[in-house]
Symmetry: C2
Subunit: 589 residues, 2 copies
């Protein structure tokens, strides 16, 4: 060992001990005849003190040596722990310093391309290129420490609940439905390809057929999609499946897991999670992942505002409002900015109507010329608005689209009013998702979750009469407006599965061709089963209060799917392509 | 929940309780008016009893229902726990049975293509095709339960020692040296490719540069190699790295990990591991992974047997013998079979000389006409052979090759004499590997471990004078003749690294081109570091007493790299290839 102690552990009780530390030079401060060096390792920072003592040649030599050090030099130092004159209450080691007796420069360091501090001068690109230096910043390293701890605690909880972690293969086959696969040419089987798994969905269902009863895996999954802000081509799931269970059992089991994580990691006692139907989530929040840290529920205003000659509302298929408590002070400029916000193409509303409730309780709106004070009073009542509140109203000819626009506005108002505190957590289950959603593109009903999802038993008769109304035993866990996990009870009854395929528009032959493999396995005795998967990256980001999952991934890729540090992807030797018998044939543009 | 108890937990104390179980029909035995059904789940087997009671219509109906069940049907049954008349001491639940009150057939099952029993009638191919049924066999499932437990305990130990599990990417870049990479075409970067990692070697060294101090990861690695018996294209490593350590620290840390696993999983107190130099391993066992469950060390016999006119020995560069204790009873036929064994192309010896020590202590050999009784007596002494022992001798003109042949013979004799008990474990460290080995093919010295491995400090002067003699700070953990793990201390000194590259025949430009990326990272302050990696598949196989790693992998691939169950690899749609701008161009044969 190059050290007897780490840079994070010395305290007043250690004074006068001789210790050896090793680490990186964080900072050097020269103060006349004294020099202070902050030595950093993963565990903390310890101050090294150098002072020339008259007549002491060694102290002079050491001071000279210290003055020649540079940032990020790797040192091994031996010295005596001393109490500091001026203590630093910000640092756990701030009561002591090391009176250094010897320095061993283990490695010098070139000047890093950006400062290794929490507040760095490095932009995103340079930090990604030198990610190994970026990871020295304690704010970044802490995210990965958190990730380790969360993954470990997930495993501990699931192990205690009798789950087995089973590794499923990374080299699998291309899936019939879903996103685009990454594919891997096989050298031993020329012209054939493996695919990287989008999820171990089929394999975990097979493990249930195998009687594994309780399976989980923290596992890399892959999707070759064009990358949006918070997507990575490879991401990590906490993938779980259970047998002989109903939806209630799964919700309880994984609510327990979340409770364990919140308790152990954040010290928070999670209350029993509320459950919200998908229908209510859409009705009151315009989103299947409502941010319930704040209320500001939608109020439908069709009855209140239709039929008074305001053609925008009179022709609307949906009119809905939110009440921003205490925001009546919003200036004209602020409201104009909100109007701009909802009119952005990403939101897509045509305009914004507002109504302020003045201090005297009267309502002043942007559509006063169409509405009498009596109607505005009814509006105020419907919105349960009080003096000082601001009512914001959107309308449109497509109810679902308008709700989504209103949802964006609601989130924006939540942010503006400081109602989305990252240190506050609001968790819930969204349940009773629809089985199907209509696809304009395909002109057919599509499975909302996946085609093996079970309908709610009480809705099975609707499969024949009104399939679009059938609700599924499917559920999402939502935290602060983020879907951290989701899953479903699977169909284990062959006849029911056939009917579900039929409604999806598959002939028995097509169903056999697309899903025959799993259906054949089911013939040998499938238990009732169900499961869910959490996005580990998202879960960690939430706990860390990050804006992007990228910051909790050690070596992330950018929006072009590139690892700028490794230079991946890159060219390969012709011989590699020849062995695979493939050729790159650039398409004519 | 479909059950109140599992099939593994009921005992006499539960008699008269009403319970609900769910599981698979393992076996049905009809005995006149009674039928017994063994119901199986992951946790065990519980006997269900059906008996027609005169005048009880329900009992008759249940018996009829039971008689219609088939193997592997999935049932939910409710009934009362009863004490058995004839108990089964082999089963933990063998004292009780369930007097069934209702059966719910959750799913019928087609007749499986092989019997779901530990002793099955299914061959390897059919079991791999229906791996989901093979996994129902408790002997297979137990291997995966063991794997889960070992992986979990590895994590628990390393977490307690302050290691952080950091996920490194699966989509990386092609490595300059090493085995053949699997490559993944990038759609977003046409003509460029990711590679799947052969190991996270470079990334874990970068994490040390980042100050992560103690890293581990249980991680999938990939090699596109022609598959030998015990190789898989994807395999799992326990990959570890530490900073500010010397070899001794790493050996102690991971000896501790092995000790933890042996204690927790097998109940074995592992003694302090012996250490054997690579030179001794080669000298005494002809292998860098000696099976030390039995002694039978090589004795070099050049001094004893050369110069007596037996030209085979007189011309040999190496003559070595092993003493098989108590094997003097071997018949002529058995010795002929051993001779055939060493002459197989896989071993490659020219012939085998033997000498028996008779009951009266005299030596009778196959080369008596060349050697006097006095010389044979010297042989006996050199071999420390006693009455009843069999001495087996190989010779050849290449000492290393002959030692390898003798090693094969030693292992074969160990097996024949029952000295390689799978329930006995002999662990050791092999240390002081050579830095370099000569490559006839490349006509240069090659790194035996990898080019970042540190020489032993005391051997550094030899780099200039006799590089082939330089020993590395490299080490393997060997258990029962299997290399379960290995690693090295890495070079952190830029000058030393340059010298090592020079000896490998790289110009500074070539070194920069091949390894510049890591060397550049080192410029910013690399700590002294080192690590190792265990093969999880091998480690589990050893603990499970398996002959092949395949049996501890849920969904393994065959020798053609195929997953016969999934049908991977397989063809992909033309549109997928078009999007990647690649084309399959079969080579002319």
């Amino acid at each position: 060992m190059y050290r007897t102690v780490t840079c994070g552990e010395l305290r007043l009780a250690d004074v006068n001990k001789t210790v050896t530390l090793a680490g990186w030079v964080q900072r050097i401060r020269k103060m006349g005849a004294m020099t202070f060096v902050d030595l950093r390792d993963r565990y903390g920072i310890t101050q090294l003190a150098f002072q020339e003592v008259a007549g002491n040649e060694q102290s002079k030599a050491l001071l000279e040596q210290a003055n020649k050090l540079g940032r990020e030099y790797v040192l091994q130092v031996t010295g005596v722990v001393k109490e500091r004159y001026s203590k630093n209450a910000q640092l756990p080691t701030g009561d002591i310093e090391i009176e250094v007796e010897s320095i061993n420069v283990l490695n010098p360091a070139a000047v890093p391309p950006f400062t290794i501090e929490d507040e760095t001068d490095g932009g995103d690109d340079i930090r990604m290129k030198y990610r190994y230096l970026d990871l020295r910043r304690s704010c970044v390293r802490k995210n990965l420490e958190l990730r380790h701890k969360m993954a470990f605690e997930v495993r501990r909880y699931l192990d205690e609940q009798g789950f087995l972690e089973v590794e499923t293969p990374v080299l699998v086959n291309s899936t019939p439905e879903g996103a685009r696969d990454f594919i891997v040419p096989s050298r031993m089987n020329p012209g054939q390809f493996y695919a990287l798994p989008q999820s171990p969905q089929i394999l975990k269902q097979l493990l249930m057929v195998s009687g594994f009863d309780r399976y989980f895996q923290i596992v890399k999954c892959f999707r070759d999609e064009d990358l949006r802000a918070d997507r990575q081509p490879e991401f990590t799931q906490i993938d779980c499946e259970m047998s002989f269970v109903e939806q209630e059992d799964i919700l309880n089991m994984f609510e327990g897991m979340s409770r364990h994580l919140f308790k152990v990691i954040k010290g928070i006692d999670l209350p029993k999670l509320p459950r919200m139907t998908w229908a209510d989530a859409m009705k009151y929040y315009g989103s299947d992942k409502p941010d319930t840290r704040f209320d500001m529920r939608f109020v439908e205003l069709m009855d209140v505002l239709k039929g008074y000659g305001f053609s925008v509302f009179d022709n609307a298929a949906y009119i809905g409002g939110i009440c921003a408590k205490g925001a009546a002070h919003y200036t004209r400029k602020q409201i104009d900015q909100l109007t701009e916000f909802v009119k952005r193409p990403q939101v897509g509303a045509k305009g914004l109507v507002y109504a302020r409730v003045e201090a005297d309780g009267t309502v002043k709106s942007s559509v006063d010329k169409f509405y009498s004070p009596q109607v505005l009073e009814k509006l105020k009542e419907a919105m349960q608005a009080e003096a000082g509140d601001l009512i914001l109203i959107l309308s449109g000819d497509d109810a679902n689209k308008t709700r989504k626009q209103l949802s964006e506005l609601r989130l924006e108002m939540g942010s503006q009013l400081g109602l989305r505190d990252k240190n506050k957590y609001s968790c819930l289950w969204v349940v009773d998702f629809p089985m199907y959603e209509w696809s304009d593109e395909e002109q057919r009903l599509m499975a909302m979750h996946h085609p093996f999802t079970s309908p709610k038993p009480e809705d099975i008769p609707l499969l024949d009469t009104n399939p679009a109304a059938v609700r599924a035993n499917a559920y999402d866990m939502v935290i602060n407006g983020v879907e951290v996990g989701g899953g479903s009870i699977r169909i284990h009854d062959a006849k029911l599965q056939e009917k579900v395929f039929e409604i999806l528009g598959f002939t028995p032959e097509q169903a056999q061709q697309k899903f025959g493999f799993l259906m054949n396995a089911f013939k040998y005795g499938a238990p009732p089963h169900g499961g869910l998967a959490y996005g580990l990256d998202r879960f960690v980001s939430l706990f860390a209060g990050l804006d992007s999952i990228r910051d909790c991934i050690a070596f992330p890729k950018n929006n072009q799917g590139k690892d700028m540090m490794l230079g991946a992807p890159g060219p390969v030797d012709q011989i590699q392509l020849d062995e695979l018998q493939i050729k790159f044939v650039p398409q004519k543009q």
